[in-house]
Symmetry: C2
Subunit: 457 residues, 2 copies
């Protein structure tokens, strides 16, 4: 234990916010899937930007590395201590939970890194506007973590990912200096777009402490449809016709085996009187009721074998329940191998067929559950069965993705989990430049080492 | 003259594409406003990516710096040789003019750096889609230059700037290695967003050779309105009500003195039977006719004193003519001091009043012409009168902008013209990081030196 560092940290944030007791640290030291864990000298919880800077300074002086952490809902191990690191602290940003006044004219708001997505959505909603990114972990996921991982979620199709919402950022560099550009100018070509670069940099370049975020008009009408189909090619064909609707917010895909699992785990009834191999959740929203437009498109889709529609809150929530329960149902089976890939639209059906055969052959007796954001070409590939340290199935699937021109990480990021496969999807020139950029921001490598870039970088 | 370098370059691109005759070079050595010029050893016009890489390699070996150039329509001197540099070449990308097949399903297309905006718009249009960025210099401006400067233009309000259109990029680094990520995956969190960073980097980090670009559904109905108003606060109030229209594509602002100048220069009639101090050009477009919705909003705007509306192509073009002729009319008065600033919405009217008083006091007898993209908080400030090298008026205006929380460059970039004022709008921490990023990409400083970053960096 590095007592001088702990004393310095207590000086900065106050003794109550330097957590050293193993049972208190525990919740910060393991990710929520249970797959990734490590041990930290302490969990430090600064209350403002100046304290973040001072914590980074003290850690650098002590030669201790820093793992920034938001709501700890990440899926690639980037926000918990490294298993193999000797001396590290967790820098929890949850106390930076300030929400600024919503600027209705500009449709913007400032939020601290620790504000949860649920809080942000409520705050924007109270001002008659909407924060557009939404994801299942909304009660825990924080602004800082969502910026650092360029979070995607359910509405990327219409509103873009987190990067598209960021009009300003505040972040602390490894040397304690503060980047702050929170004026909310939507048009600003004065130099490099550092804010965009920090989005998705997974805590390796700077610690995000706050963001200026774009808000959207809040749709007053919303309709959800659950569609039963025979197969994925049919679903893709429906998707291409749905794209003509400018009210389209989400097109999610599930498969029969996943739905069966979810029904058993969450004690839900089957969505339709008879099972369908492939099921879509479609949502449209607008200032006018989009129900008729949606019905019009669907009436021209012979692929749709079964339909359930709801526009009231309770009914819509019910139609989403099978989709939303997937993550938890899979976790209940054991620690899953979680892959999150994107594919060019024209290779997606090919991928679905091949990945089922591949997983069966590589990991005999394992269970594959697929779902995802079809509208973004994004599938979540979950395999339960192989022990967590046996990554042969991960490797086989990611190689298939790369062969089909896809990305090995659509929205979860690279983290600890995928770094050995980064070169499947990024060229050596890409990796060399990223490594040089990392050094430009963090010359001593104190920020989140072991994440994103390959070992030895 | 560096004969060994010229010989090497001729070897790479062929003798016909190494321009050394002064009169042939001339068009590449001065910007189109006439304000920025320098002398190059040669203008080199490679025909493909491999040739670009080889040119960079030969130049680096000879210790000669490289100025990348697209359509040479930039306004901050970043694309022409530096006046004070000893040994430099112009790398013209105009021959990289390949257009890929439009992928209608993904709504994407690949284009070489040398494709002009007009060519790209026609290419997308022929496939029933639209490339959304539009600007007056469309016949010369190229994809490479527009990416490198993160071009904005007339439709940022609805579709975003160039960065929002880029789903993939191909670029050559100073060391000749090629970054290529043209697969068009819309969701990809595998490492740093290098493509977004290159957008707006003004040729200082890499030479952009091509891009994978997002296309949009082509609106079938379009309506343009010219509105006469008493003042800018009135215009801003109209703007805030127009924002409720999801068909809104452009809200441009002009003032009476600019319109008078334009009428004289371009021999246009006055837009209205009586002059109005402030005039807006508003355009809406959609798959349904937006005319009634627009009329509905305008009928609730008592600030609008005069209205002209057109939805046919000829009529619309006429309504745009005053706005489009501004740049040329100002250039005809002499070499203008061109400033391009953005301001927070709530400070814009204050800025307009103060800048008029300021210019009168700093540059007695000069002429100020203001216009811009009101919907983006972006004003173009043009001052004719002071000699090109007397930058006191530029400095005074930019300081005012900074004091009001604005940006000294909304869309033109920093280039040569604004680099001495970068620190007005970017903090020392920002500049330090940008400098480190520049070194990460281009350690020997061979790419576009003297642009964007302050001297000595």
């Amino acid at each position: 234990v590095n007592e001088p560092l702990l004393a310095a940290l207590r000086e900065v944030v106050g003794p109550a916010h330097v957590l050293t007791e193993p049972d208190v640290r525990a919740g910060y030291e393991v990710d929520w899937t249970g797959r990734w864990r490590g041990s930290a000298e302490a969990v430090v919880r600064p209350g403002n930007v100046a304290e973040v800077a001072a914590v980074l300074g003290a850690s650098a002086a002590a030669g201790v590395t820093v793992v920034p952490q938001g709501g700890n809902t990440g899926l690639v191990g980037g926000g918990v201590p490294r298993a193999d690191a000797v001396s590290q602290i967790v820098l929890s940003l949850v106390r930076l939970d300030e929400r600024g006044r919503v600027d209705g004219g500009a449709a913007q708001v400032s939020a601290g890194a620790g504000v949860t997505l649920t809080q942000l959505q409520a705050h924007a909603g109270a001002a008659g506007l909407m924060f557009a990114v939404d994801l299942t972990a909304r009660q825990s996921a924080t602004v800082g973590g969502m910026v650092a991982t360029n979070a995607g979620g359910l509405h990327v199709l219409r509103y873009g990912s987190m990067r598209a919402q960021v009009v300003g950022i505040e972040a602390v560099l490894a040397d304690g200096s503060v980047l702050s550009r929170m004026g909310g100018l939507v048009k600003d070509n004065s130099g490099y777009d550092l804010a965009g670069l920090l989005c998705g940099s997974e805590g390796t370049l700077a610690v995000v402490t706050g963001a200026r975020l774009r808000l959207w008009p809040r749709p007053t009408h919303r309709v959800t449809a659950l569609l039963g189909l025979a197969d994925l090619p049919g679903a893709l064909s429906v998707l291409s016709r749905l794209r003509s609707l400018d009210t389209l917010e989400a097109v999610e895909v599930m498969f029969d085996d996943g739905i069966e699992l979810v029904c058993a785990h969450a004690q839900l009834a089957a969505p339709f009187s008879q099972p369908h191999p492939c099921v879509l959740v479609v949502e449209c929203a607008g200032l006018d009721d989009p129900t008729n437009d949606l019905a019009g498109v669907l009436s021209g889709c012979p692929e749709v074998l079964d339909t359930a529609v709801a526009s009231d809150s309770g009914g819509r929530q019910r139609l989403w329940s099978w989709r939303e329960a997937h993550t938890e149902a899979v976790n209940a089976l054991g620690i899953p191998h979680k892959l999150d890939v994107s594919l060019p639209a024209q290779r997606m059906a090919e991928f679905e067929g091949e990945v089922r055969a591949l997983v069966t052959s590589v990991a005999l007796g394992s269970r594959l559950v697929l779902w995802g954001h079809l509208g973004d070409g994004n599938l979540h590939v979950n395999v339960v069965g192989p022990p967590p340290d046996d990554e042969s199935v991960d490797e086989a699937v990611l190689r298939l993705v790369a062969d089909l021109g896809g990305s090995i990480s659509a929205e979860h990021g690279i983290g600890v989990a995928k770094r050995r496969w980064l070169s499947l999807t990024r060229s050596s020139a890409d990796v060399a430049v990223m490594t040089a950029v990392k050094r430009a921001f963090d010359p001593t490598g104190m920020l989140n080492p072991g994440v994103l870039l390959p070992a030895g970088r």
